[in-house]
Structure formats: structure tokens, C-alpha cells
């Protein structure tokens, strides 16, 4: 339909993704009454890291080096699948959301084994928590997307999301959409290591989840990890923005701009959540994630009624 818009989305997303952490941090700074880092701070960080050398632990193998590379490759490939509202993904086919979920799974798998490669207890603990939470988040995400598929009667993300903003879908499946949006919101916060599940700014290795897994990475490797997380933020964010910003003008540029605007709003929203909420106790997180899965199932039941 809009191959140009799809390509434009991929390029724009890859360029703008590092802006999202900047927006989140700026929002948090505003809440805390600080000036905060520049919006473009992540770009500067990446630039600096790309120019550094590296230090590797003697314990590590090639797996440690492969982790960031495979992770970034996975998330960029996932970016080719994900649609942004009315802008279809570059690759669209039946069941593409399973591939999307599994690409994120491969990224996680390599992040975790790269962490275990260091032999550090902190990183082992982080890996353990990461697989723990994501094993529960994955069903919530896939069931939520299945509910959307059922309501739009199609099996590819791009055709699912194109239909969401239309009048018919709003009147018949509005409540289900809200439930799915809530579920995907929880998945978004979990998978991107945000409060209330994880705290990207925490200072104590014992309490980190995502950050602790990448403690030993440095230089270009760390740049790939940081950039990869920014792109992942965009990929999962796009799934959420596609539901809550129902702009479907049929015009590629308009849809794309609306989507990008939605992404910025989502980043602001994430900043607000991070500023106003505390972290959940680790033991509470599973309940939170199971709740997301239940919301998804409920949405599916509503849609199939």
C-alpha cells in the first residue's frame, strides 16, 4: 500500500529512537524540578561510546561479544515488521506478530547469555529476573495481539492496525481495544525495563534487572546495547501507539506524523509514570504481568462474543 511510507517509518524510527529516552528523562527532570539532560543526550552518549576502546573480562568468550550484535540485529529486523498506526510495516505476512515476539525473544536470549558469560553473580541475578518476567510478559503480548487479530479478522500486524481507527472497529470493539492497550502498556513497561518493574536509574547492582546484565559491556558494544534498547522502546511503543492514536487518514505522511507524535507522547507518559510511581516489590511483578495476560484474554473473549 504505502511502501514509501513504510520505508520512511523504518528510517525515521531508526533515526529518532534515541530521542525517546531523552524525552522520558526530560519529563522526569521536569517533575523533579531539575533542568535535566539535553533531549539529544542519548545521541551524544552513543557518539562518545562509539569512539571508545573496550575492556573485556578474562572470563568471557565470543558469546559476550555476540550479545549486543545479535540483540541490535534482532530489534532492527523487528522494526521492519512493526506498523506505526496506519503506516504498514515493511514486511507484512500472516502471523508476523509471532516472528516479532520471537525476535525480541532471541534478543533477550543473547542478552542473558552474554550476561552469564561474565560469571558475575550480579549479572546472573539480572538474567534470572529478566527471563522470569519476560516468560510471563510474552503470553500477555501475544494474546493481546491475537485479540486484535480476531477483531480485525486478519493475521498480519499491518492489516490489523490499519483497521483499528475506523468507525466500525471503534463501535464494536472499543472496550476490547482499551483492555488490549492496557495489557500492551504493561508489556511495554516490563520489556523496556521501566518503573514500576525495573528502574533504569537505580544505583545498586542488586536491585537492577536490565542494567545489571550489561554492567561489563563498554565502548561500541555498550553503544549497540543502548541504541538497541532505544529501538526496542520504539518497536513496542508503536504497538501501543497504534491503538491509542487512532489516526487513519489513508495518507502516508499524515499517518506517519501522527504516529511519531504519538511516540513522543508515549515517552512523556512513560516519564510521568516513572515520576509518579514507585517500583513494585519484585514478588508483586508476576501478579502485575499475569493481570496483563488476563486483560488480554478478557479482550479476546469480548471480541469473539
Amino acid at each position: 500500500m504505502f511502501p514509501i511510507a513504510s520505508i520512511a517509518h523504518v528510517v525515521l524510527a531508526l533515526l529518532l529512537a534515541p530521542l525517546l529516552p531523552g524525552v522520558i528523562n526530560r519529563t522526569k527532570a521536569w517533575f523533579a524540578g531539575r533542568r535535566g539532560p539535553r533531549l539529544a543526550q542519548t545521541y551524544f552518549d552513543l557518539w562518545k561510546l562509539l569512539h571508545k576502546g573496550a575492556v573485556y573480562s578474562r572470563t568471557t568468550n565470543w558469546v559476550f561479544v555476540a550479545g549486543p550484535i545479535v540483540g541490535l540485529a534482532c530489534v532492527v529486523t523487528a522494526m521492519l515488521i512493526v506498523p506505526l498506526g496506519g503506516v504498514p510495516g515493511f514486511l507484512a505476512f500472516s502471523g508476523d506478530f509471532l516472528l516479532l515476539a520471537c525476535l525480541l525473544g532471541l534478543m533477550r536470549f543473547f542478552t542473558v547469555i552474554a550476561a552469564l558469560d561474565t560469571g558475575s553473580s550480579f549479572e546472573g541475578m539480572g538474567g534470572s529476573r529478566e527471563v522470569f518476567f519476560s516468560a510471563l510478559a510474552e503470553p500477555a503480548m501475544l494474546l493481546g495481539l491475537t485479540a486484535l487479530a480476531a477483531s480485525s479478522q486478519s493475521l498480519s500486524l499491518s492489516s490489523i492496525y490499519v483497521l483499528i481507527g475506523t468507525q466500525a472497529s471503534l463501535s464494536s470493539a472499543g472496550p476490547a481495544m482499551l483492555l488490549v492497550a492496557a495489557a500492551l502498556g504493561i508489556v511495554f513497561l516490563t520489556e523496556n525495563a521501566r518503573i514500576p518493574i525495573d528502574d533504569p536509574n537505580t544505583h545498586l547492582e542488586l536491585t537492577m534487572i536490565h542494567e545489571v546484565m550489561v554492567l561489563d559491556h563498554g565502548g561500541p558494544d555498550l553503544a549497540m546495547i543502548e541504541y538497541g534498547s532505544a529501538v526496542k522502546l520504539w518497536v513496542l511503543g508503536a504497538l501501543l501507539v497504534g491503538i491509542v492514536v487512532p489516526v487513519r487518514s489513508g495518507h502516508g505522511a499524515v499517518d506517519l506524523l501522527a504516529g511519531v507524535g504519538g511516540m513522543v507522547l508515549l515517552a512523556v507518559f512513560t516519564g510521568v509514570v516513572e515520576s509518579t510511581m514507585a517500583r513494585l516489590k519484585l514478588l508483586r511483578v508476576p501478579q502485575f504481568l499475569v493481570a496483563a495476560a488476563v486483560l488480554s484474554i478478557l479482550a479476546l473473549v469480548l471480541v469473539m462474543r
Binding site: K52, G53, A54, V55, Y56, S57, T59, N61, V63, I69, V70, L72, A73, C74, T77, L80, L91, F93, S94, G95, D96, L98, L99, A101, C102, L106, F109, V112, A115, L116, T118, G119, S120, S121, F122, G124, M125, G127, S128, R129, V131, F132, A135, L136, E138, P139, M141, L142, L143, T146, A149, A150, S154, L155, L215, G219, P220, M224, A293, M304
Partner: protein, 669 residues
């Protein structure tokens, strides 16, 4: 067809030669392995021919047994399973050459005392031959005889290290369960032959009793396959057997149970919906509980054995989807389900035998399969480690490998109910929740389990002396693992071909009215797979590109090595690393309702604590709450009859005389 017969003959002759050669390990290995490889090659050739050009000629020899006839047919369904038997059997045989030959190293000869390798080879080749007969037999009696030979051959292989008490216990459990299963199969075939009086597969049918036959077959074949409530033998027998045997048993032998189920379905006519739901429910239970038990294991081979339960669960889910598709007359759902199931049979054969062979190399090199005593093996065993990683990613259903492809097809089959049909049935909701939620949960937990298994065993620092003095496996052991890892990648990257290859086999399973639709549906299955594969190539291209970029960036800069960041604590010891148990702990605690993990804590006491210990283990709930009480009950009843057994020969003669008298009175009176 003849190639299969020749293959069986070659296997048996080679096995006998190995047995005769007996104590000379080198001769036995050469003979046995050559036979297995030659037999495998012949079978491979025949099976590929059948899959591409349709069924071969049937063989029918007279056999002077009531109800029996020696009929072999290699149809496409048999060919899929024969293919797996050939490839895995041949590769495992090559591996076994390296595994059974004493390497001269002290620790390996300690773990491998002098054995009659001739007998091991005889039973191994007998196992392969009987499996080939099981999947090609076209007569109930021949099938049952081959089935029994298969069970006994594998029993003797499990008992290879029978001097260990744990192995004897495991072999015993296996022998009992497999015979209970066979007893039900006997009843099933008796019911099936009632109408026509013949056990030939074309003549089998069970009008009016299909439900009973289905249940008998489900329990009988499900026991061999290891579906969840019937799986108890599996986590005992697979770790007890030598690793190349575990690879064959877990990779292909338990699949004969799946073959039996599929073959049985072709006798029974149109399936009612509850069959599909039964498969689906058992599949989800096996899948989720299997992976949870795997997660809580400390022994590498036991962990892998529980993963077989999980993967059989995924296959059962696929069959459930297929059956529901047949029942509701939805060709896409049926074909996607069965294709995904068959492809998962092949895939699981490949990656599970790869993982068992890898575990065998670890065991061979370190003498222990205890995950928490290993570590850092990737540096010492680079090939084993890398191939194990491929297998681990494949079994977790991650792209671009083969496990993802079959799970993708099952997933699409289940979702076919959501689109394009009248949205009436709450059945579709239930099915998509079960399959989508189930597969997602299983996939996530499997990834957790294998990041643990690979990460703790192969990464970090060695946790024991055995691990730090490990050595890479010999070439005979390395090559089979590399070939299997290559197959994982190859199937993943040639995904769109497989629905076509398997469509002939699927056509055997589905009823006639859906047969015409299978080719069309295979085309529909290929289309999304083309794009999946495209994405896989993009992924691989990006990985290469990023690796080059990184190399370019770091070229000429300072790259140093140091210690792992340890929070400033300067004297870390390898024992302070995270262990497999602690890695899996949050998940086992979350699911403690199903797992009931037990801890024995001897906590440190006093101001100057002397020693402390913590043991955690997760016994199988079904074994503890169902089978042990059941068999204890049977045992106590049986011991009440002990007074019959006097031990005096006169009394036994009296029993015989009384029996004959009673029979005479009954017959003549």
C-alpha cells in the same frame, strides 16, 4: 520398498557381527557403526524417494502366524518417521564410536568401565531395525512384535550401566510402564480386528467402539511418547542410558508413539471434537509442566528428558489443532496443524539428539552432569559449546532456526479459526487462548531454561576441578553434532519448502474429503514462511554487518582484558557465581503449586558456624502422588497372595494337576 528391507537386514547382520566380535571394542564399533550408517543411508534414500514421488511398492510375504502377515508399506507418513530414524540413528552411531572407545584419559575410563561393547552395538542396531519395522509394518501383529522388540532393545540399552542402582531402578520403571502401554495396544488391536477378523492395516476398523479404541491407543501410545500423566518413565530412563542412546530414544523412539497415534487415527474415521480437545489439553499440560519440571532440574540429562515431555506436548497440541480442523471441516487449520506437528517431530528429533549428544560430550569430558558443578566449558570445548548453543536456541523456538518454523505453523493453524469463519464458537476463543498462550508461555520458559542450561554449563568460570580439566570431544563425536547443528539452521532457512515436502504425509492423515485441499493449503503455509525466511536472511545479514562495523571500530584502539566487575570485592571464587538452581528459583517458586520444590536446609548456627548445607530438589508430582501409591497398593495386594508360593515342588505339581482337572471338567462337563 526393498531398500528398507535391505536396511533392516544390514542393521541386524552388523549387530550380530558386533555381538560375535564381542570383547574387541574396536571391531564391535566398526561393525556396528558401519551397519547403522549403511542402513541409515539406504533408509534415507528410500524415504526421500517416497516423500518426493509417492508411496513405494508394498512387500507382502507369507507369515504362518494367526492374524499375522509380513506386510511392509513405506507410505509418506512412514517416510517422515523413517527419515528421522535414519538420520539420527546413523549420526548417533558415528558418535557412539567415539563415545564407546576408551580414550585413555583417566576420568573417562573411570566413568566408563570395561563393558561388552558388542552387546551394546547389537541392541543399538536392533533398536534401529525394530523402529524401522514399527513405522513400516502394515499388519497389527507385525507392528506389535516390532514394538515389543523395540521396547526390549531400548531396555537393554538403558541398562548398559546396570551396575549403578539408579540405572537399575530407571530400567525397571521403564520396563513396567512400556509393558503396561503395550498391553493396552494389544487390546486396541483386538478391538480393531473384531469386524474383519484380520489385523492387516487396510482391514482395521472399529464401528461403534471408536471412543474406546481412541482412549486405549491414546494411553498406550501416549505412554511411549511421554505425554504428561504417562511420562514417568521418561525422566528416569533417558538420563540413565548412555548419551547416544538417549539421543536416539528421545529424538526418535518416543516419536514412534506419535506415529502410532497418527496411524491409529487413519483407522478410526471422522474424529469427534473431544479427541482434538483431549490432545490439546494433554499437549498444553505436558508442554507447560514439562518445561517447568525441566527448569527445576539440576542434572543436565534429566533437564533434557523433561524437555522431551514438553516437545511431545507441543506436537500433541499440533495434532489437537489438526483434529479440530478436520472435525470442523477447516482444511487450513487441519493442514497447518498436522504439518506443524510432523515438522516438529523432525525438528525435535534433530535438536534434541544434538543436545543429548552435547550433554554426552560434557559427561564424557567431566564425568558429571550436575549443572551446578560445571561452568566455563565453552573455552575448553568450543565445538560442543557452539553446537549446544544452536540446539538450545532451536528448542526454544527462536528464529532463524527450525524450532521456530514448526511452532509458527501450529500457531497459524490455531489462529485460522479466528479469521474467515462465522464468529460463533466459543471453541475458537478457547483454542486460541490454549495454543497462543500455551506456546508463548512454553517458549518463554524454554528460553529461560536453556539460557540457564547453556549459560551455567558452558559460560562463566568452572565450578569444579572436573570442569576445569575438561577436554574437547574427539572428531567422531564432534562431526555428528556439527551436522545436526547445520540441519537446524538449514531447515530454518529453507522453511517454505517443508509444507510441500510434508504435504503427501499430511494427505495420509486427513480424511478423503480434505485431501484435495492439502496441496492448496501447503501453498498457503509456504507463503508467510517465504517472508519469515526473508526476515531471517535480513537478520543474519545485519549480524554480519554489525560484527564488521564493530571490528572496524575497535581496530587500532585499545582493547584490554581485566577481571569481571565484582563491585570492588577483590577475591571472588568460582563458587560465588550464580548457580542454575538460583537462576531458576524465582520461576520454580512462582509455580510452586505444581512443582512443590523441597528444600533441606541445615542453616548456619551460632556465632562461629561450622558447616551449613542446602539441598533443593523437585520430585515428580505424578510419580509421587499417583504412581507410587498405585504400585504400592498393587504390591501389597500381591504380597497377600504369597501363601500360594510355598516353595515346595509337590505343591506346584498339585496346582498343575488341579488346573488340568478343572479345565477338563469345564471342557468336557
Amino acid at each position: 520398498m526393498e531398500p528398507i528391507l535391505i536396511a533392516v537386514a544390514v542393521l541386524l547382520v552388523a549387530g550380530l557381527l558386533a555381538l560375535v566380535g564381542g570383547r574387541n571394542a574396536r571391531w564391535a564399533s566398526a561393525s556396528g557403526a558401519l551397519g547403522a550408517v549403511a542402513g541409515g543411508a539406504l533408509t534415507l534414500f528410500a524415504a526421500v524417494d517416497v516423500l518426493l514421488h509417492g508411496a513405494g511398492r508394498a512387500i507382502r510375504w507369507p507369515w504362518d502366524v494367526p492374524l499375522g502377515s509380513f506386510r511392509l508399506v513405506l507410505d509418506p507418513l512412514s517416510a517422515v518417521f523413517a527419515l528421522a530414524i535414519a538420520v539420527i540413528g546413523g549420526l548417533a552411531a558415528v558418535y557412539a564410536c567415539g563415545y564407546l572407545t576408551p580414550s585413555g584419559k583417566a576420568e573417562s575410563s573411570a566413568s566408563m568401565p570395561r563393558k561388552n561393547t558388542g552387546a551394546a552395538w547389537f541392541f543399538f542396531n536392533l533398536l534401529l531395525a525394530s523402529m524401522l519395522l514399527v513405522v513400516t509394518a502394515h499388519n497389527g501383529l507385525l507392528f506389535l512384535v516390532s514394538w515389543e522388540v523395540m521396547s526390549l532393545a531400548s531396555f537393554f540399552l538403558v541398562m548398559f550401566e546396570g551396575e549403578k542402582p539408579g540405572v537399575r531402578e530407571a530400567g525397571w520403571t521403564y520396563l513396567v510402564t512400556t509393558h503396561l502401554g503395550t498391553a493396552l495396544l494389544l487390546a486396541m488391536f483386538a478391538l480393531l480386528s473384531r469386524k474383519s477378523g484380520s489385523l492387516d492395516f487396510d482391514a482395521l476398523s472399529a464401528p461403534g467402539l471408536t471412543g474406546v479404541v481412541f482412549l486405549l491407543g491414546l494411553i498406550g501410545f501416549g505412554t511411549k511418547a511421554g505425554l504428561m500423566p504417562l511420562h514417568v518413565w521418561l525422566p528416569e530412563a533417558h538420563p540413565a542410558a548412555p548419551s547416544y542412546v538417549s539421543a536416539v530414544m528421545s529424538g526418535v523412539m518416543i516419536k514412534t508413539g506419535i506415529y502410532g497415534l497418527l496411524r491409529m487415527l487413519t483407522f478410526l474415521g471422522p474424529p469427534p471434537a473431544w479427541w482434538g480437545w483431549t490432545f490439546l489439553a494433554m499437549g498444553v499440560v505436558s508442554g507447560v509442566l514439562g518445561v517447568l519440571y525441566a527448569l527445576s532440574q539440576h542434572d543436565l540429562k534429566r533437564l533434557l528428558a523433561y524437555h522431551s515431555v514438553e516437545n511431545i506436548g507441543i506436537i500433541a497440541m499440533a495434532l489437537g489443532v489438526g483434529l479440530l480442523g478436520v472435525h470442523y471441516d477447516m482444511p487450513i487449520m487441519a493442514v497447518f496443524g498436522f504439518t506443524g506437528g510432523l515438522l516438529h517431530v523432525v525438528n525435535h528429533a534433530i535438536f534434541k539428539s544434538l543436545l543429548f549428544l552435547g550433554a554426552g560430550s560434557v559427561l564424557h569430558a567431566t564425568g558429571t552432569g550436575e549443572i551446578d558443578r560445571l561452568g566455563g566449558l565453552l573455552k575448553r570445548m568450543p565445538v560442543t559449546g557452539a553446537t549446544f548453543l544452536v540446539g538450545a536456541a532451536a528448542i526454544s523456538g527462536l528464529p532463524p532456526l527450525n524450532g521456530f518454523v514448526s511452532e509458527f505453523l501450529i500457531f497459524l493453524g490455531a489462529l485460522a479459526g479466528l479469521v474467515g469463519v462465522a464468529r460463533t464458537a466459543p471453541a475458537w476463543t478457547l483454542m486460541s487462548v490454549l495454543v497462543v498462550g500455551g506456546l508463548a508461555l512454553i517458549g518463554g520458559l524454554a528460553a529461560a531454561c536453556f539460557s540457564k542450561a547453556f549459560g551455567i554449563v558452558f559460560l562463566g568460570e568452572p565450578r569444579s576441578g572436573a570442569a576445569s580439566s575438561a577436554h574437547e570431544a574427539g572428531a567422531m563425536m564432534r562431526w555428528p553434532m556439527m551436522i545436526l547443528a547445520g540441519l537446524c539452521v538449514l531447515i530454518g532457512l529453507s522453511a517454505p519448502l517443508w509444507p510441500w515436502v510434508l504435504s503427501a504425509a499430511v494427505a495420509v492423515i486427513v480424511p478423503e474429503n480434505l485431501r484435495a485441499a492439502t496441496a492448496a493449503a501447503a501453498g498457503q503455509a509456504s507463503r508467510p514462511l517465504v517472508l519469515v525466511v526473508l526476515a531471517s536472511y535480513i537478520l543474519l545479514g545485519l549480524i554480519v554487518l554489525l560484527a564488521c562495523v564493530r571490528r572496524k571500530l575497535l581496530g587500532g584502539r585499545r582493547v584490554e582484558t581485566a577481571v569481571t566487575w565484582d563491585c570492588g570485592y577483590a577475591a571472588p571464587s568460582p563458587r560465588m557465581q550464580y548457580t542454575a538452581s538460583s537462576f531458576a528459583r524465582p520461576l520454580t517458586l512462582l509455580f510452586r503449586l505444581f512443582l512443590q520444590p523441597r528444600d533441606e536446609i541445615d542453616a548456619p548456627r551460632g556465632l562461629f558456624p561450622q558447616r551449613a548445607s542446602l539441598h533443593s530438589h523437585t520430585p515428580d508430582l505424578f510419580r509421587r502422588y499417583v504412581y507410587e501409591p498405585l504400585f504400592a497398593g498393587i504390591g501389597s495386594v500381591a504380597s497377600k497372595l504369597r501363601w500360594l508360593q510355598e516353595g515346595r515342588i509337590q505343591i506346584y505339581v498339585l496346582y498343575i494337576a488341579l488346573t488340568i482337572l478343572t479345565l477338563l471338567i469345564w471342557k468336557l462337563g
